[in-house]
Amino acid sequence: MSIAITTQFICFTVLSLVVIIGALGVVLLESIVYSAFLLGGVFMSVAGLYLLLNASFVAAAQVLVYVGAVNVLIIFAIMLVNKKEDLKPINDIKSRRIISTLICLTLLSLLIRVDLTNVWNVASPQNSIGEESTIRIGEHLFSDYLLPFEVASVLLLMAMIGAIVLARRDVMSRDISTGLPVDQELIEKSSEPLLTNKN
């Protein structure tokens, strides 16, 4: 712990406020594009919280993977499916909202009660590994966590192949049901223009 304690408190307060207000904005804002960019801010603030917890490597991984990959992927998906549409109204949306909010508040009070009442067996900060955590993570990954590490690489390969298989178009020369030749135009091109009715 090299930073002064007051600075730590100020950083923690600011980062927590950004995380919580940003997360509220992600779920509450009307525009999905604003939500996506706020999500990037939330990820960056979570990386800042990791830095406060003496974990520089995980903070860097968080910025690289979440902000650099996941958030960009979400923004790409928004741009691919961003058609303004009038959602069909649901008749019992009010009661649904109330019930889900009650469930969330109950869960929140339960979690906070556990957080506050449980006696945490906090270790002394003397034997903290501190700045050498990157070395320790490397030791873990190549000794006792070697099997999960390798399985994670297989998982990433499977996710990559699965994403390609799911997202590509099946190009067939003939329609299966009618036998007529299908037009090979892009579906988005042949259907009505997507972004004409934006406001």
Binding site: V26, L39, V58, Q62, V81, N127, A152, L155
Partner: protein, 107 residues
Amino acid sequence: MMSLESIPIQAFLIVSSVLFCIGIWGLLNSRNAVRVLMSIELMLNAVNINLMTFSSYIDNNLIQGQVFTIFVITVAAAEAAVGLAILLSLYRNRVTVDMESFNLLKW
């Protein structure tokens, strides 16, 4: 009351609890499928904050929580890729991202 030599562990845990509940609320109440995926990412981040907090406060020599967080980040990246591919495929078939219209498996 609390010793002020460092940030209390409860502060981090409360932040992660609030973030998790916001994620669940978004998951239950969003009608846009992309927002559902974003809520899942919020929940995964809340879990990661929890793991990192316990790793830093309770297991600060053998930091196994940080290794777990690395694995969770890996799985979250794979989940985001596959989830968005499913979303694109759904959008191509239904021409909508409204969660209420995805009721093919409803009984």
